[in-house]
Symmetry: C2
Subunit: 338 residues, 2 copies
């Protein structure tokens, strides 16, 4: 509407004088829907509002074509940011192509998605919203539906001068997602010198390093900062026995380079205790399975049950505390933030 | 290096076993430069580090080709985020094409740049870094220079798993810029019912509304949320007398549509008392001049000196407090944050 008005302005100054000087102020001042100049709030308060808006949008089913699926459908915030399904379920019961990665600590991954096709959390959001097997919607549709709800209009306007737009939806959701950090795991306390690991976990950490797991699962997210082939030391996909899907090709889908076939972003192991099943295909249902498969296909090593138990004990020390933002909003505003 | 390693991995598993399992852990564990798994910090502490990094980058001359110009060269943080020049000066004394808009409260503008060509603060940063009359650099060059400095390497690594990248430089700077909010102006206190405006400013606000200034200068940023033609009610550029530049064409440079000639993003009036000279061409050196020109060319109205004084008195109530982030870092770490 503003654009139309502007074109009119450029074309017909005298008529427009009436529109701009007399009508528009009446519109903006009338009805109380739009305050012409709201006060400027301190940045902390703006950010807090943005985080609350982002959480509402994260839990908003209107983002999907038939209003049945929200981000939290596949990334359960009351759990560990996953849905515990081998492959996620989208609108109309569509079975997705891949195991949903956790949104917890996703801010520390160098790329998003298993094949790393999004560089930022914002860019990642384009995927599920428009994927026909996930939300099956479009940004036009999402914006239209959100704009139809006055409380969303108001909440966006308080933060963003241009109100409900795809960029602003993505900015709010990504800002919320950046809060989903799970600090204070037993391993973090060990690293910070606050407490020791128990004997089995300590042995597991030693094994994790000496076996070579740490070559890929390193950095603050214990993974999430490099790509790696699934099946460095053996043909994982052949042994799996089920047909190869496009999702199995990994980064090849992005680069179309032969060398990128079966190459994936190394997943974070933070909270891995809580995010079964494992791997991009959800093929490992327990941590023990996952460790055994990784040892065989990534390291070319057969490890004993006792060694597996030790690594699993170490992995369990990577379980952090729930993100503070979720605790706070539960305390103050029930399950769904307002 | 990781990419090369990955390709090698895919190609030669047995050789690679040695590299991955034996060499890489040694590299990552050796020398203390890279900690294989640093502890996860709470999100507030990560964000605080990101803001500090963003400020350092904002003040970093290495972003320019000859290491002479930083963001803060044109957006002085000790003032009001401007350089007080009609047109900014870039590398080698190059005179820019346009008056530098303030970075303060820029987060509340619906688009960035006078012609609105950037949708986000992140996207905006591509402009000055690569503009030959501003920083004249390239992202490759910026990344190379920042990577050559160990403290930057370390500071990026603490926050971003992929270290120094164009995306991460932009994310850090934009995160810092989002802190540059100036709350608690006299006008905000008036809007919040905390205090009254003095008589002249009150009259000025009435005039600001009744003259029609508020048709465009509205919203939380008192502007910054729509486009408008410079010269709705008269030919500003003809009367100005100096040749029309490409910058004068405004949004036309972006859309190439005839109707977008001379169309600009309406600037915010927050802190306008402190941001002279005014307009995209810096042609008005005082607030009084600016108000007189606006009344004539945007509203087709000749207003008296007394009316101008009142509007100016109102505009001066829009001066907010310095952003808290600048106060804090000055107190704790001197002029330049570490």
């Amino acid at each position: 509407m503003l654009v139309k008005l502007r074109v009119a302005l450029a074309a017909k100054p005298p008529v427009l004088y009436v529109v701009v000087v007399l009508l528009l102020p009446c519109l903006t001042l009338g009805a109380g829907a739009i305050v012409p100049i709201p006060p400027l709030k301190p940045v902390d308060s703006i950010t807090a509002e943005k985080i609350r808006l982002g959480r509402s949008l994260f839990e908003e089913r209107l983002l999907s074509r038939d209003n049945s699926v929200s981000c939290s459908s596949c990334h359960d915030l009351s759990g560990a940011g996953v849905d515990h399904k081998p492959r996620s379920i989208g609108i109309n019961g569509a079975v997705g192509d891949i195991n949903a990665p956790t949104v917890f600590n996703a801010t520390f991954n160098f790329r998003q998605f298993w094949n790393g096709r999004a560089k930022t959390l914002e860019a990642q959001i384009d995927g599920p919203v428009q994927n026909p097997k996930e939300m099956g919607s479009s940004w036009n549709e999402v914006v239209r539906k959100l704009k139809a709800i006055q409380t969303y209009q108001d909440r966006f306007r308080k933060i963003y001068p241009d109100g409900v737009t795809p960029e602003n939806v993505k900015d709010a959701i990504a800002t919320f997602e950046r809060q989903l950090v799970t600090p204070d795991s037993r391993f973090d306390e060990f690293l910070s010198g606050k407490s020791a690991l128990d004997e089995l976990a300590k042995k597991g950490y030693e094994n994790f390093k000496s076996f070579g797991c740490i070559s890929c699962h390193q950095g603050v997210n214990v993974g999430g900062n490099m790509y790696q082939t699934m099946g460095v030391m053996g043909n994982y996909f052949k042994d799996r026995g089920t047909p190869i899907t496009e999702a199995d090709l990994g980064r090849f889908a992005v680069t179309k380079r032969e060398a990128d076939k079966y190459v994936f972003r190394v997943p974070s192991l933070r909270n891995v205790e809580l995010t079964a099943p494992y791997f991009h295909d959800g093929s490992a249902s327990t941590l023990e399975d996952a460790v055994r498969v990784m040892a065989k296909y990534q390291l070319g090593r057969q490890i004993s049950d006792r060694e597996i138990d030790s690594v699993v004990a170490f992995l369990k020390t990577l379980t952090g505390k729930a993100p503070a933002v979720l605790e706070n909003s539960r305390t103050t505003a029930g399950a769904k933030a307002q």
